[in-house]
């Protein structure tokens, strides 16, 4: 708790001393707010209003241009990570994000520019620029890419409504803006919950607090300063790359596809988990773009969260290595990983859900059929091997 307070205080100091504040940059907050009028009409706990806001945010937040400064703090078992970023978004799809160097962040200046078709990520310290084509731009001309996205969005919002209790908690002033506070509590145990602050005038999320399934806060992100609909030149979304900078082409995942199609494309049998956590659905799969990790990636979602399930066959000459490997649950940046190997496959589950859910999914994968807890099973194997090696000489 003390560490969190210290991190937040440090960030506040950094923000207060940022060049923008020192230069007295004029903050043109929208003067008109609909909140006072609406406030008298809504009940603070009106879930229909909350639902309506959720729908509007999901549908329209991308269409709002803004210029802002934002703070992100992530908490995880081994520490805290934080960054302050300058974000400029010109609707519909031009975004420039500068992750600023700070004492709370280990990275130097990092600039990311996206135009909806590709993303350029420039690391001046490393003298490298990463380029990645975005999936939607890989669709053929005339492909109903937008409809596909809209379909996913509608589906996600339906899932959120089905899986979360959405309540309007109250209102608050944030970054000079009035905001509705909306709580999203999972109906099924083992899932993270969220609170979001939605601007009263525009369908835009000003602050997000994320809580791990155990109830502790895992991340918070909020705008320190925001200006809606500023005048933005397209030049802001150009990246000047010095001539000596190396360019790295990052591979791109394909589009989501049904599992039968995925299996055909993968050219290996994909063991699908028999257990899908309550409220989740398998939304499809894709092939990992990494040649050395020719994984099939199956995505499960409850509308708000994703669980990624990767299946990787051993890659050299398709040798089926008989020995199974120890399962391992680890936690990195608040995300849990469960990894195990069996029958010539490596399996990886990634998600922010409780690890018991990940273990249950893993146990339902056939093959391997695991009848006991993974850790216990692996530990018993480990100990058997240990004792065997210790006493073999007397046999």
């Amino acid at each position: 708790m003390f560490k969190r307070l210290a991190a937040v205080s440090a960030l506040c100091l950094i923000i207060a001393s940022s060049p923008l504040t020192l230069q007295g940059y004029r903050i043109a907050f929208a003067s008109k707010s609909l909140l006072p009028e609406e406030r008298s009409n809504i009940s603070p706990f009106d879930s229909r209003t909350a639902m309506s806001l959720i729908e509007q945010v999901a549908e329209k937040s991308g269409s709002i241009s803004f210029n802002a400064t934002k703070t992100v703090i992530l908490w995880y078992p081994s520490g805290t990570s934080a960054c302050i970023s300058k974000i400029i978004h010109k609707a519909p799809n031009l975004t420039r994000t500068e992750y600023l160097p700070s004492s709370a962040s280990t990275c130097g200046l990092r600039t990311v520019i996206s135009d909806g078709k590709s993303t350029w990520h420039y690391e001046p310290d490393l003298q490298v620029v990463f380029h990645m084509t975005e999936t939607s731009s890989l669709l053929d001309e005339g492909d109903a890419g937008t409809n596909h996205e809209e379909f996913n969005l509608t589906q996600d919002v339906s899932l959120i409504k089905a899986n979360y209790d959405i309540t309007l908690i109250g209102t608050e002033n944030l970054a000079g803006r009035q905001a509705y506070i909306i709580g999203l509590e999972p109906r099924h145990p083992g899932n993270p919950s969220r609170k979001i602050w939605v601007d009263s005038e525009y369908p835009f999320v000003l602050r997000t607090e994320k809580y791990a399934p155990c109830g502790t806060m895992s991340s918070v992100s909020f705008y320190n300063w925001i200006e809606f609909f500023p005048t933005l030149s397209d030049d802001l979304f150009e990246l000047d790359i010095p001539s000596h900078v190396a360019k790295v082409e990052l591979p791109v995942s394909g589009d989501l596809m049904p599992l039968d199609k995925l299996e055909k494309k993968a050219e290996f049998a994909i063991p699908v988990p028999g257990f899908v956590p309550p409220g989740y659905k398998i939304e499809g799969g894709m092939l990992s773009p990494y040649r050395a990790f020719p994984a099939a990636h199956i995505r499960l979602t409850d509308g708000l969260n994703t669980i990624s399930y990767f299946v990787t066959p051993r890659i050299i000459d398709g040798n089926n290595r008989g020995e199974n490997h120890v399962a391992d649950v680890s936690d990195l940046l608040g995300t849990k990983f469960l990894r195990w190997s069996d029958q010539g496959y490596d399996f990886t589950l990634v998600g922010e859900v409780d690890k018991s859910l990940l273990i249950e999914i893993a146990q339902s994968v056939n093959p391997p059929r695991m009848t006991r807890g993974l850790s216990q099973q692996s530990l018993s194997q480990y100990l058997t091997k240990f004792f065997y090696q210790m006493f073999w000489i007397d046999r």
Binding site: I54, V57, V72, S78, Y99, V112, I113, W120, H121, F130, N152, I160, L184, R194, S219, S221, L239, D240, H244, V245, A246, K247, V248, E249, L250, S253, Y290, R291, A292, F293, H297, R299, T301, L304, N305, T306, S308, F310, R314, I315, I316, D317, N319, R321, V326, D328, L332, L333, T335, F337, R339, S341, T348, V350, G351, L379, L383, M390, I393, D394
Partner: protein, 200 residues
């Protein structure tokens, strides 16, 4: 951070690799190295061919004196085994105590509570994190700033890690002319070797 295996190291592990005797960590590193190193690939193919060839050879007939000699050797070892058993009677209780003392640490380490272990595993997981995070970006209420921060950090980690350094020093990096977003023509190193970053 995982160190790249040298060709020499990989070649020393090839036999164990072909016999499926490597642990997970070594296996991944050998496989990653093999993807890019034509010299080790040749060595691997050659060793496999030798192993296959040996496997096809018929077993030569045993000489007539083999079994009597083996029996004699086993009998002569029984005396030394007596002392060995005596030694074990003394060692066994001590070993049991030692195991009891080590067991709690072994369990803790096994369950991933050891940060060292977690670090070792996470060295191999960047591509998965990145894929997961990119998937999360599609969600309507995802925080794109924090996800972007994690995704870009993973790209940097992959680039900075030894995975991304040239494995095969015989192959010079190809210089290409590319174009940045401003239209400025740029001389840059092609990053084709990017191991698992090579497009499928």
């Amino acid at each position: 951070m995982i160190r790249n295996m040298t060709c020499e190291k990989v070649k020393s592990l090839l036999s164990a690799y072909l016999d499926s005797e490597l642990d997970y960590h070594e296996l991944r590193q050998v496989e990653l190295h093999l993807l890019d190193c034509s010299s080790c690939q040749r060595e691997c193919r050659s060793l496999r061919a030798t192993k296959d060839l040996l496997g096809t050879l018929e077993s030569p007939p045993l000489p007539g004196e083999f079994w009597p000699e083996l029996k004699e050797r086993i009998t002569s070892r029984s005396v030394s085994r007596y002392y060995l058993r005596l030694l074990m009677k003394v060692l066994a209780p001590a070993t049991a105590l030692l195991v009891l003392a080590i067991l709690p640490f072994a369990i803790t380490t096994h369950e991933g509570a050891s940060s060292g272990q977690v670090e070792a595993k996470t060295d191999l997981i960047e591509p998965y994190i990145r894929e997961y995070v990119i998937s999360e970006l599609d969600r309507p209420f995802s925080d794109k700033t924090s996800l972007g921060f994690v995704a870009t950090a993973q790209a940097v980690t992959m680039y900075s890690s030894d995975f991304l350094e040239p494995h095969d020093h015989h192959t010079p990096r190809e210089a290409v002319v590319t174009q940045n977003r401003t239209g400025q023509r740029t001389q840059a190193n092609a990053f084709q070797r990017v191991m698992f970053l090579s497009p499928r």
